[in-house]
């Protein structure tokens, strides 16, 4: 499939080949699924909604619910007001959610639909029943990426759902970033281990990693509740994980309600997880729990036991900006060399941050935002790597160049572990280390000459 990739890199202006991103609305839909009792609503053609649901289903292996305004030619000429009104009416009548989270599409953005006006009108006309809520995020597909859409919907949550009334309570807000349900579950576990009462939003654990119960449930038991969202304005503080996905919402909460924000990078690897634990300790006012310290110790033990296999290994990394920034730090902790580091999103700050991390340590590194997997493949052809870390689409390159490939990030369409096991926290780092080492050693065991084939590693 990748036979035609030239072996030297060339710049492209007009053409995207094998993207390392997708469009805003799917991020907004994913974030909305992290609210309990929420129906995500896609204001556009019905194909968008179907594609996003299919894509999320392929990644999570779970049913994904969302509704669509089902735009027709008429709507694209006269505007989508009638569709939105009918949709909200149907959604509340038939599906009876607590909240509807509307996101737009390229089509409804280009024709200039005024979503706040439409929602106001629906409130006025009592189409939205008493006590029910509709929020929205503008997510034009021709701006940003799925990451932008996720951040936009999370920001919309803090714009619309908290209440000024109420009193300070002892909880800590955690904004987890565009991570998997297993990651959100792990972050909550760490907070619990530390004895910090936390409100996480969005929270897709127990929404997109459901147990087999013999029943199909429209609104699973997980997700941040509206009651909890109401009081995030009175929390002790907000720990926002991921500059691209979570910072905007945390800053909004800080400026609107004075909830102090602690802005961190995703806790992937030892150092960034230390910072998360430190934030729980400081914001929550609790000492670091022994159990967490031991967990850290076990991770460190694995790193010391196995560091010889990682030293100097060249790695290509592709993924979402927050994920990649933290993963690069983890690779450096293992003395690996992240030589090609890309994200598909437009994120100038990404380049600056990764370059800062690599400066003086991996001078040959190529770092690029707004890149695609075709770029990365050409660089790998110019000078190969020992390991690729990225989403499932990287497997094409891995196969073409015979390079072990570890799945990491979104989407993962061909493996199952991400649904169950985290990549965040100390446990997540242990898992990533195991996966990377297994992938590299499996290749060595398969290919090395018999006399170098070792039983003991």
């Amino acid at each position: 499939m990748l036979d035609a990739t030239p072996s030297t890199h060339s710049a492209r202006e007009a053409l995207r080949i094998n993207p390392a991103k997708t469009c805003q609305p799917i991020g907004a839909m994913y974030a909305a699924l992290g609210i309990h009792g929420c129906m995500p609503h896609s204001h556009g053609s019905q194909g968008c909604c179907a594609y996003h649901r299919s894509h999320l289903t392929r990644h999570h292996k779970e049913p994904v619910m969302a509704t669509t305004s089902s735009f027709t030619e008429g709507a694209s000429v006269f505007g989508g007001l009638a569709n939105m009104t009918q949709a909200l009416n149907n959604i509340f009548t038939i599906y009876n959610p607590e909240i509807v989270a509307v996101h737009t599409t390229c089509l409804s953005e280009v024709i200039g639909d005024d979503i706040p006006m439409m929602i106001r009108k629906a409130y006025d006309e009592k189409i939205i029943p008493e006590g029910k809520v509709v929020i929205h995020a503008n997510t034009p597909s021709f701006v940003g990426s799925h990451i932008t859409g996720f951040a936009g919907m999370v920001t919309s949550m803090v714009k619309h759902l908290p209440s000024r009334a109420g009193e300070k309570h002892g909880k800590v807000n955690i904004i987890p970033g565009f991570v998997d349900p297993s990651d959100m579950r792990e972050l909550k576990r760490l907070a619990r281990e530390m004895g910090v009462p936390a409100v996480m939003f969005p929270d897709t654990s127990d929404v997109l990693d459901l147990p087999q119960t013999g029943k199909y449930v429209m609104y699973p038991h997980g997700g941040v509740t509206l009651a909890d969202m109401k009081t995030v304005s009175h929390s002790l503080g907000t720990i926002a994980l991921g500059g691209f996905t979570s910072t905007p919402a945390a800053l909004e909460l800080e400026s609107q309600y004075g909830v102090p924000a602690t802005l961190l990078e995703l806790p992937i690897g030892l150092g960034t997880t230390d910072l998360f634990i430190d934030a729980l300790h400081k914001v929550g006012g609790v000492p670091v729990a022994d159990s967490v310290a031991w967990e850290r110790g076990r991770l460190l033990d694995v790193m010391t036991d196995m560091h010889q296999y990682f030293y100097g290994k060249r790695v290509a990394v592709a993924g979402d900006p927050d994920h990649v920034i933290s993963l690069v730090q983890m690779l450096l902790e293992l003395e690996m060399r992240p030589v090609y580091v890309i994200t598909g999103s437009s994120a100038p700050r990404f380049e600056a941050r990764v370059q800062q991390l690599l400066e003086g340590r991996v001078p040959e590194a190529v770092v690029k935002q707004n890149a695609d997997l075709f770029d990365m493949h050409q660089w790998i052809k110019e000078a190969p790597v020992d390991l690729i870390v990225g989403n499932s689409y990287c497997k094409h390159i891995g196969r073409a160049e015979n390079i072990p490939t570890v799945r990491f990030g979104f989407p993962i369409l061909d493996r199952m572990g991400h649904r169950l096991f985290p990549t965040v926290g100390y446990m997540g780092a242990m898992r990533l280390i195991e996966k990377m080492l297994d992938a590299m050693l499996d290749k060595k065991d398969r290919e090395c000459p018999e006399e170098f084939f070792e039983l003991v590693q």
Binding site: E13, T22, T57, S141, F142
Partner: protein
Amino acid sequence: MAAETMDTMELPDLIPERERQVLRKGDAQTAAVVDMECNKASVAGSVSQRACVFCGSRVVLYPISDAIHLVHGPIGCAAYTWDIRGALSSGPQLHRNSFSTDLREMDVIYGGEKKLEAALMELIAKHRPNAAFVYSTCIVGIIGDDVDAVCRRVSRATGIPVLPVNSEGFKGTKRDGYRAACDALFNLVGTEPTEGLGPYSINILGDFNLAGETWIIKEYLRKIGIDVVACMTGDARIQDIGRAHGAKLNLVQCSGSMIYLAQNMQKRYGIPFKRVSFFGIEDMAAALYETAQFFGAPELMDRARELVRGEIDGIMPELKRYREKLAGKKAAVYVGGAFKAFSLVRALRLLGMQTAVVGSQTGDKDDYRHLQEISDPGTIIVDDSNPLELARFCMEKNVDLFIGGVKERPIAYKMGIGFCDHNHERKEPLAGFVGMLNFAKEVYGSVCSPVWKLTPRCAERYVQRKEAVS
């Protein structure tokens, strides 16, 4: 809770606007065939399983492996349709890449024509394809890019066909997307010489070589003595499509997607067409016999009979073993095209199974009339359904198997129901005689998997059965 139905109380009722798109077939006496509402846009606010015009075009043209498929629009449409379809190619793998103009805000404001032209020129220079398809997505229709003009210019400059596909998502339903794809294909038909084609030459329309199915069908036809000029679009090449007008007959399977092309080819080239299905023993055999009969050469028919006999003899012993295990089980079928649903009802019957729920995304009135005719009394027939309805129907009918696509699979599993993907993600070929055996194997593997015995649903049934016995 009755023993034969599950609790449906937790799921909401039907959307009122959809009442005429759902039908319960009455008993044999009262079973008058009625017209169902269908082929209309989904109700705004419903959780539709349907996609859009673009999706229809993309799935039809995707398998053409020596062409560039460039999606003109923001990145999403290209990202979600990237290498998700198991349409196999025996040669180039070019179609499995994702090419997009990745339109950004400035392009939306100033237009995307220049970007499109540059992208096309670069792609064609790089990959030297035999043709290029340019898919228009929603906003291209709104910002008014003259895609046709760009395609003409690039075609002149590069000397290869560059075909615009008018597939703006909002301009209709998935069926309109099929039509746009057929228009593009029709422009290619007749562009190559037809010398050297044998007397018994046909085209296959509407088979996409999922898991290698086209190869199986072609092999049957070859054994009978019939040549396939072009399969549209399974394992297709541009040159074959260009010669397709030299065929004597079009076999149209998956009627929804390709009937329009068959009609056009009949009009312009006088090529008759037959609607066939390659799923299930009966339909596969009928397709081969009809084709042989069409040419009127007795030796073709003899060979067809011999082939069918041999194939059936080959699979029957194993098939019977599966039938013993599956007899009496119930299935729900929800697929894209209605024609596939017909075949599945018959194929399931061959396995001793009953189809209790059957529906499609794109069926028309005639399709639903036919479905009513072939369905058992009590069968629920549904157009453009949604997960809640489907879950409700499955529980009501207490089915053991769901046949559908990617979005339905986890719903079935959550309820403790076996599943068979009869859509893009099938892993085994399900067409042809060997496909029937694969189908039986897959259905058996899922329906009779021991995992269900561990699930609460089966535990409940187990308890009920025990109570009934005592």
